[in-house]
């Protein structure tokens, strides 16, 4: 059972970086590139900071650059949570 879901990411995006009116964040976005969803590198930096604070999972900068879709972020965070034995 994943501890960090796509909905958790959706909430983080909404609360900390806002939503582009032309994007349906509730749609099937797991494999959509962040750029297409209207999120730039600064937005992802903000998301990473929120995730670290809320879930205790740091996302190093070089790692963050590799995480280009919501699905990859969710997978990464759950791997880290599992590794930490949470």
């Amino acid at each position: 059972m994943p501890k960090f879901t796509l909905d958790d990411l959706r909430r983080t995006l909404r609360e900390s970086t806002g939503i582009d009116e032309e994007v349906d964040l509730d749609g099937d976005i797991a494999d959509t590139e962040f750029v297409e969803l209207g999120y730039d590198s600064l937005a992802l930096l903000q998301v990473a900071s929120e995730v670290e604070r809320s879930y205790g999972v740091p996302i190093p900068g070089e790692q963050l650059a590799q995480l280009t879709t919501p699905g990859s972020v969710v997978t990464f965070i759950n791997e880290q949570l599992q590794r930490a034995g949470v």
């Binding site: 900390s16 937005a43 903000q46």
Partner: protein, 413 residues
């Protein structure tokens, strides 16, 4: 005689107002004519512990639904208001930026506080919780050029952009730079003017340091420029965004619909406080008239800076009296209805002056009743004065010595 309109003439074709007097040109102008004040007790935070409790707030402004959703958490209230004002101004000018060459459009705004409220919020998170709590957007939200940058990105305007930080004189300096870009042929359209918003505890505290704010707690008597009882000014938020276009590159219809031409502009800087030299305002005003090739006798109305600080009111009244003659030209200061809007103030005055030229009405100054000694000016009070107006002068001064003057002429009959 109307202004000659030819190539590279900087015409104001659109105005977007987000001010304590209203949102949109029409509601602002009606409030001005009706003397309806936007001054009230500060409600953006509890001002009980502060010596200044009144301000001009833009009460009806809501960012949600009016400002792109992605930009709301990324930018300060001051930028929200400018984005909205820009949208209103472009719509007023009937311009679709997407249809124009992106490098021929520029953005030059005025800002005096940057993203103060945003900054305070993040500073609070820093000292209460730690560095990781500070928003990544602090990096782009606080600084003076943030509004210019966001307006530029939003509207695809990639020409020579900039920001002027000269406190309340900044709005005229920004318009002066916008005029330069049009006259040089570099830009066909410039989004200019500005907004400001520093009505948060941090912002107000910074303003208190000037010692020029009024601590009078009555909205009707707190800000009385040129009056015997002048006791300083009140702060406000908001401003106006103006669209300047090259008359030579727009249609005849758009030329006829334009509000007016920026005919002349000058800036100046006061000597250091202990200097025996005169304040810069009089010379700045004279240079703006020279730049416009306008005789003092041809100016129909002056929109005053109207600091509300007795010694500074006298400096301004004396400058106006010296250049135009004592009591020789109608003077007004509708800003008593909004407070001083800093980076947004002078462009709102320009917007009001252009509306004044268009409608042939000098709006009255609400508040002052008895002019102070040493103020030999014809201050329009009581009610608006209908006049055939062709040429207006707007004056502005900013804390620290900034002076600016702008000369406007209406562009149609």
């Amino acid at each position: 005689m109307m202004a000659a309109i030819d190539g590279n003439t900087p015409l104001c074709t659109g105005i977007g107002v987000v001010a304590p007097t209203g949102i949109g040109v029409e509601s602002h102008w009606q409030a001005i004519l009706g003397g309806k004040t936007g001054i009230d007790r500060i409600s953006r935070f509890d001002p009980a512990a502060y010596p200044v409790k009144l301000s001009g707030q833009v009460r009806d402004f809501v960012a949600k639904g009016r400002v792109p959703g992605r930009l709301i958490p990324q930018t300060d209230h001051w930028t929200h208001m400018a984005l909205r004002a820009t949208e209103l101004a472009l719509s007023d000018a009937a311009v679709n930026p997407a249809s124009l060459p992106e490098y021929e459009m520029a953005v030059v705004t005025s800002s005096s506080s940057g993203g103060t409220e945003f900054g305070q919020h993040e500073m609070t998170r820093l000292y209460q919780h730690g560095p990781s709590w500070v928003s990544a957007y602090q990096s782009i939200a606080w600084f003076y050029a943030a509004t210019t940058g966001q307006v530029s990105i939003r509207n695809g305007m990639r020409g020579p952009c900039g920001v002027v930080c000269a406190e309340q004189a900044g709005g005229l300096a920004a318009l002066g730079q916008a005029r330069r870009l049009v006259r040089s042929g570099e830009s066909r359209l410039v989004v200019s003017g500005g907004t400001d918003a520093a009505l948060c505890p941090y912002g107000l505290t910074a303003q208190l340091a000037s010692g020029s704010l009024s601590t009078v707690d009555d909205p009707e008597t707190a800000y009385l420029p040129f009056d015997q009882d002048a006791a300083g000014f009140l702060p406000g938020e908001g401003g106006a965004i103006l669209i300047l276009e090259d008359a030579g590159r727009i249609g005849e219809r758009a030329q006829q619909d334009a509000y007016g031409v920026i005919l002349g502009h000058a800036t100046g800087f006061d000597p250091r406080p202990e200097s025996a030299r005169a304040p810069a305002l009089r010379a700045t005003l004279a240079r703006a008239l020279d730049d416009a090739r306008v005789d003092a006798a041809d100016v129909d109305v002056v929109f005053a800076d109207a600091m509300g600080v007795p010694e500074l009111d006298i400096v301004e009244a004396q400058a106006i009296g010296a250049v135009f003659g004592e009591n020789a030209v109608p003077v007004t200061a509708p800003k008593t209805l909004t407070g001083r809007l800093y980076g947004g103030g002078a462009s709102l005055d320009v917007a009001t002056a252009l509306l004044s030229l268009r409608h042939g009405v000098v709006p009255h100054t609400v508040g002052p009743r008895r002019l102070a000694a040493g103020c030999p000016i014809d201050l329009v009070t009581g009610q608006p004065r209908e006049l055939d107006l062709r040429t207006a002068v707007v004056l502005s001064r900013g804390y620290g010595g900034f002076n600016a003057a702008l000369v406007l002429r209406r562009s149609r009959n």
